[in-house]
Symmetry: C2
Subunit: 412 residues, 2 copies
C-alpha cells in the first residue's frame, strides 16, 4: 500500500533497537532519566527507567512530537510488530492490548498516512510508571533491597505517570509536544498534561476518557482490585517470592474489566445465548457452556500470561483517583480547565457506558465556558469502551483533520 512506501533516502541508518522489516522507522529505547524521582505522595524512587518506542523522525527543531499514552493494560508497544507470545510479563513491550500477537495496540492509528502520521510526526509511546511494560513498577528491583518492589512500590497518581513520561521525553530531547493522545487512562494522562504543563502541549486528543471516573466505574475497579488482593495467592502482594501468582484474582479482575469494555448490544450480536461447541447444556455446574463464558475464560487466561497483578492494582488505584477538577480546580471542573492552553479534541462512543459520552460532553462544556478551543465528536458504534481500539477507521479522518489544522498553524 502506498502509505508504506517511503523514499529510501529518508530512512535513517539502522540502529540496534530498530525493528527489522518495518517500513516506518520504529525504535525501542530504554530511557533512564537522572534520579531520584519524587512522587506526589512525597515518596521517592531512587531510579527511574522508562520503556519507550518511537515511530517516524523528529524534525530539525524538535517541534513535531506526538506523545501516545497507554491505557491500563497497554504499554509502549503501540504500533508495528514486536513483543509477541514469547515475551514474559516483565518483558519489554509484552503487554500488547491488541488481539493480534505482536502487533501494537494502536497500530491502525500510528504510521505513514494514518491518524498519527509518521510522515509528519515523531510519535512516542512510553510504558506506564507503576505498570509491567518495562517502565519502573512493582516488578522492578528496588535498589534499596535488591528485590522487586512488589507491594512496597509507592502509590502513584496519574500526575506521577505524566511527570515520568515528561522526564522520558527530556531524555529524547523533546521539551514540547505537538500533540498528546490516548484512550481511557491514556486520555486522562493527556488531560492531566494539559492542566499541569499547559505551555508544553499544543493539541490534546482524549479518546473514550473522562475528567473523573463515575461512581459505577469506581465500583467496577474496586471489585477488580478486591478480587486480586482477596486471592490468598496474592499473599499481601509478595507472590513473587512464593512462586505462585494470584491467577484466580487477576482472572476475575480481567473478566470484570472486559465486560465493562463491551456493550450489551455488541455482546448480543457477537455471542447472544449461543453455546460453545454444543447443542445442549452440559448439566455441569461449573462448565462454561455459553460462548460468552468460554470467551471470558480464554481472555482471562491470556491476560494472566502477560500482566502482573500488582501492576493492575497500582494502575487501577491511580485511574480511579484521577480527578481533574479536584486536583487542578479545587473541585471545580471549569476552574481546572482554565489552565489549558491547547486545542482539545474529545472523542467518545455511543455504546461506551464505562466512559460515557456524557462525561466528554461535560468536559467540553467546561472548556467552552472558559472559551477554550474544544471539539467533541460522539461516534455511533456498538463496540463499547473498546471502540477506542477498534474504531480507528472512523477516528482517523477526525484526528487527521484536527492535527493538520494544528500543523498548519505551525507552518511558517
Amino acid at each position: 500500500m502506498a502509505q508504506n512506501v517511503r523514499p529510501a533516502g529518508r530512512r535513517p541508518p539502522p540502529e540496534p533497537w530498530e525493528i527489522p522489516g518495518n517500513a516506518v522507522p520504529h525504535r525501542r529505547r530504554r530511557l533512564t532519566p537522572p534520579g531520584p524521582f519524587r512522587l506526589e505522595s512525597g515518596e521517592v524512587l531512587a531510579e527511574l527507567e522508562i520503556a519507550c518506542e518511537t515511530w517516524g523522525e523528529p524534525d530539525r527543531d524538535g517541534q513535531n512530537t506526538v506523545l501516545i499514552c497507554p491505557a491500563l493494560s497497554a504499554d509502549a508497544h503501540a504500533a508495528g510488530r514486536g513483543g509477541g507470545p514469547e515475551s514474559a510479563v516483565d518483558g519489554f513491550g509484552a503487554a500488547s492490548a491488541s488481539g493480534k500477537e505482536g502487533l501494537g495496540w494502536w497500530d491502525p492509528m500510528i504510521g505513514s498516512g494514518k491518524a498519527f502520521d509518521t510522515d509528519r510526526f515523531h510519535v512516542v509511546c512510553m510504558s506506564l510508571l507503576g505498570g509491567c511494560g518495562g517502565t519502573t513498577g512493582p516488578l522492578s528491583v528496588n535498589p534499596d533491597t535488591g528485590q522487586p518492589y512488589g507491594p512496597d512500590f509507592p502509590v502513584i497518581t496519574v500526575g506521577d505517570i505524566v511527570r515520568a513520561s515528561r522526564s522520558g521525553l527530556h531524555e529524547l530531547g523533546v521539551r514540547r509536544l505537538r500533540g498528546i493522545s490516548g484512550g481511557s487512562l491514556g486520555g486522562m494522562q493527556a488531560l492531566e498534561w494539559a492542566a499541569r504543563f499547559p505551555d508544553e502541549v499544543d493539541a490534546v486528543v482524549a479518546v473514550a476518557s473522562t475528567a473523573g471516573l463515575s461512581a459505577q466505574g469506581i465500583g467496577w475497579n474496586w471489585i477488580a482490585r478486591s478480587a486480586i488482593s482477596g486471592d490468598p495467592a496474592w499473599r499481601g502482594g509478595r507472590y513473587l517470592e512464593e512462586g505462585a501468582r494470584p491467577v484466580q484474582g487477576l482472572a476475575i479482575a480481567r473478566m470484570v474489566g472486559h465486560l465493562t469494555y463491551l456493550s450489551a448490544a455488541g455482546m448480543a450480536k457477537k455471542f447472544g445465548r449461543r453455546l460453545q461447541d454444543r447443542q445442549e447444556f452440559s448439566g455441569d455446574l461449573q462448565a462454561a457452556d455459553f460462548q460468552v463464558e468460554s470467551y471470558l475464560v480464554h481472555q482471562a487466561a491470556k491476560f494472566n500470561r502477560r500482566f502482573d497483578a500488582n501492576a493492575y492494582l497500582f494502575l487501577s488505584h491511580a485511574l480511579t483517583r484521577f480527578d481533574l477538577a479536584k486536583r487542578h480546580g479545587d473541585g471545580d471542573l471549569e476552574a481546572a480547565v482554565e489552565r489549558f492552553r491547547c486545542r482539545t479534541l474529545l472523542l467518545s462512543f455511543s455504546s461506551d457506558w464505562l466512559y460515557p459520552s456524557s462525561d466528554s460532553r461535560r468536559l467540553a462544556a467546561a472548556l467552552e465556558a472558559r472559551r477554550k478551543r474544544v471539539v467533541h465528536y460522539k461516534i455511533e458504534t456498538t463496540y463499547g469502551h473498546d471502540s477506542f481500539l477498534l474504531e480507528a477507521g472512523r477516528m482517523t479522518p477526525i484526528v487527521r483533520r484536527f492535527l493538520t489544522a494544528e500543523e498548519e498553524r505551525h507552518t511558517p
Copy 2:
C-alpha cells in the same frame, strides 16, 4: 391507616405459625409434598421440603391464590415482620432482600389495599428449590448420606423450581392460580409457569424480567460463579465440612451482582465521587476511600451473613440457562408463548440494563403476534434493576388495575 383496619370477625383464629402483631393474616408453613421429586435432569430428590409464607385467606372455592416468586437472593418471607439478623443462613425466612431487617422483600406490594391485596387474594410465597431459604437445597441433608448435599445437590432448572412450587401449592389445596408474579428470576418463574401449566394460571405479572438473559447478563453471572468456585475456601463445594466458607468469593459475587442491579445515573446521585469519612485519599493501596467502595464492602459482608455460596451457584446457573424460547418453542419465542392462556402484564424499568425494557418489549411483541392479551409498562426511574424492589408506589396502581380486571372477569 385504613388499609390495616379489618373487621375483627373476619380474622381467623391464631395458629402456631402466625406472626403476632401483624394485622394481615400471615403464616409460615413447612410443606412436605410426597416424594420422590424428579428433576428435569432425570436426577431424583428423595424428599422435598418447602418453606412457605402466606398472607390473606383462601376463599371458599380456592380460586383466589396469587403466587409470588422470589428472585435469586430472596426467599418466602416476602411481606410482614419476621426473620431478622438473628437468623442463620440456613434459617427459615432469613434471606430478606429488603434493607430493613426482618421486613419482607416485597412488603410494600403485599397487604391490605396493596398491589397484591390480601383483602381479596390469598397470597403465597415459597423459598426457591436449590436456594438457602428453607426449601430443599444444597444446605439440606441428603437422606442417602445423612450429610448436607453441598456440591452434590443436583443441577436444577427454573422449570424444576416452578414444579416444586406447584407441589407446594397442592399441599395447600391450591390447584389453580388467580395470578403469579415476581421480579427478575421471580418473573422467569411466572413466565415458565404460563408456558408449562397454561390451564392453571389466569394472570402473569412479570417484573424486570426476561424470556432469556442477555449475553452480558450471562457474563456477569459467570463472573460471580467463577469468583465463588475459584475461591480456595470453596473446596469443591465441600466447605461446610471444613468450617470455613468461601467468604471472599461470595463477596465478589455479591458486589458484581449489586453493581448490575444499580444504574450509573442512580449511583452518580447516591455516591458520585464522594469519599467515605475523609476529605483526602488515604494513600493506602487497599483502602475503600470512596463511598461507593465502602458501600459495596458493607453490603457484601451483610450478604455473606445470610446467604450460602453453593445456593448462589445453583440458582445463578439455573437463571442463566432459563430460555423460554428454547425450552418451549424450539428456539422460537412466538412458538413458546403460543401456549400461554393467561393475561400477561410486563413491567420494566428504564434504567434496568441487566433486564432491559427491550427484553420485555420483545416478549410483548411475541405475545401480541400470537394474539395473547399482554400489556407492557416501562417505568421511568434511575433505580436500575433494583426498581422492582423500590418502585412499589408506581407499580401498585398498574398491578391493582390489572388484577382487578381479572377479578371482575371471575365475579359471577
